[in-house]
Symmetry: C2
């Protein structure tokens, strides 16, 4: 900057108001004992100069930045985007500013972005839907960086996630109650692995509990970007499923497209249940019946855990929170014909 505007420092304020910088510091932080008259003089100098304390200098000395990093894999997924917003609000409410990093699932990028966060000395990191290398997590934990994992799982770190077993069970039972017996599970290939596995297992157990037998070929991935091949045989068969549980709303909504392009109406031919409860699922034109994650609670719990970890360090054992989802019935599910 050539026409640089030299920001006033604490020394400038001290000089102008005729006190020492300690006194200015005390006034700014409302600590120590400062007489009213001195305080007024300092405040006036502050206003006159437009002084704003330099967080960089404070951060260096206090070894604390009030910054938290949020690393999110798949922002295309609206649920993550909505959750990040909630986390940002919670963080702001606790005096933290968030550094958001989208990695788009690129592992290399992920490592370098996290590296940048650590150089900035963030107080903690939220790993949202962390798809990446487990070694990265191990390293963070080894360095005692406060970390909270959201919608993903590790026994060594603080975790918050929805209860997949309960959620999938809600979905399956809903379909069963509507009379469906041929039920498939459509998975999102870019979904975080531990969550995907949990939901796949939960699905099979839920079927068994309902007296139905899972078919291996009816747990299938659908990637709207790529070829539609893997899922089509299942849909085109004469005895195609009449009910589908989708791994998440993003997949479910794309699946509606695919089904209807292939002459299968939702819910007339196939009932569809999503998972997440993103905003647009509630649009009348979409009307997705879905397992709703308690988004605000998720965000709040995340910041409670992170703040606790920042305060107390790693003395206490990792905390794991499973939140209970709920089913919202809309128009994508109907009685089996």
């Amino acid at each position: 900057m050539t026409s640089a505007f030299k920001r006033p420092t604490i020394n400038d304020v001290a000089a102008l108001s005729g006190v020492s910088k300690s006194t200015v510091s005390n006034v700014m932080r409302q600590s120590g004992t400062v007489s009213d008259s001195t305080r007024a003089r300092v405040m006036e100098a502050v206003a006159q100069l437009g002084y704003r304390p330099n967080a960089t200098a404070r951060n260096l000395l206090l070894r604390r930045t009030n910054l938290v990093g949020v690393v999110v894999g798949d922002v295309a997924n609206a649920f993550d985007a909505e959750l990040v917003t909630g986390i940002e609000r919670q963080a702001a409410g606790r005096g933290y500013t968030t550094l958001v990093c989208n990695t788009g699932g690129d592992t290399r990028l992920e490592a370098s972005r996290i590296e940048a966060l650590l150089e900035q000395r963030v107080d903690g990191i939220v790993l949202l839907d962390f798809t990446g290398d487990r070694a990265v997590l191990a390293q963070l934990l080894a360095e005692r960086v406060p970390v909270v994992m959201v919608s993903c799982w590790s026994e060594y770190a603080d975790c918050v996630a929805v209860d997949d077993v309960v959620g999938i069970d809600l979905a399956v039972r809903h379909l069963v109650e509507l009379g469906h017996e041929r039920i498939a599970h459509v998975v999102d290939p870019v979904m975080e692995a531990t969550t995907r596995r949990a939901r796949v297992e939960a699905f099979e157990r839920a079927l068994l509990r309902a007296g139905l037998s899972p078919r291996a070929e009816w747990t299938v991935a659908y990637d709207p970007g790529n070829a539609e091949a893997p899922i089509l045989p299942m849909l085109r068969a004469a005895d195609h499923p009449t009910g589908i549980v989708a791994a998440n709303d993003y997949t479910a909504i794309r699946l509606i497209e695919l089904l209807e392009r292939n002459g299968l109406a939702v819910p007339h031919d196939i009932s569809l249940v999503g998972f997440d409860g993103i905003d647009i699922a509630g649009l009348a034109r979409i009307g997705l019946t879905t397992v709703v994650q308690p988004r605000d609670t998720l965000a709040r719990t995340t910041l409670e855990l992170l703040a606790a970890r920042i305060e107390t360090g790693y003395d206490e054992a990792p905390q794991q929170h499973r939140l209970i989802p709920s089913l919202v019935v809309r128009t994508s599910t109907a009685l089996r014909r």
Copy 2:
């Protein structure tokens, strides 16, 4: 933190490798002249200790943080969310990390979040859809903080926005070509004021250009959250509009809901054109004809301007960029019956 993990500093590396910290610094920054053998010794010490330079200390000395703040008013609006993602990617590509602040249109919050960004000494700020107090902007400019405004306008700052006149004209001409003569404009009440005004004016002029006369009562706000009252009389009238231009896709999609709840089918009874080109507008079930903003160009231009302003300061006059949108025709518009 009680079980604190003391991060290694440049001094620790210097001690371990038996050199001065200047040399370590030179090795880390690949500057100065360091012999290969010394370099190797230092690198080994770095690896052994897990040393990572402290950006806080560097920032303090260099008066540069490589942080940019992004202040966004209305993240409920998917377009903003998608644009923030693009900006984040562009920033990361240029070595900046972004601090994202959602203000939700709360002016008080906005000022305090910007204050926090300035305390963190961000290198620059992106104001996206800045709804807030013009005094805040004036202050930023007075303090010579590099600022770029996106999707909003000020003659004193660098601005990037879509060309509202061209966009609205595309929408109106499309409806006119389909035979519509009774065309309304539905505005988003939380939309940033300069953009709203620009679109309202553009709408009226586009009508005139098409030989139609604007009706004042047909430029009306719709807030899905509040009462639906203000817009219903227009829709219930016998000579209700047969074409609607919505201020943005968010409003358009909520408007579909409202129309269909009131027995007006889209596009059968009313054709609807949106503005923005958010992802879900392309879903078959939505099929919104819309004026698409060049999202990536918008994000790229934003960071080009911001980077330039950070480098060169305020020697050069503000730059204003108007980007040309395009129309994507889908199924929400049809020939007038």
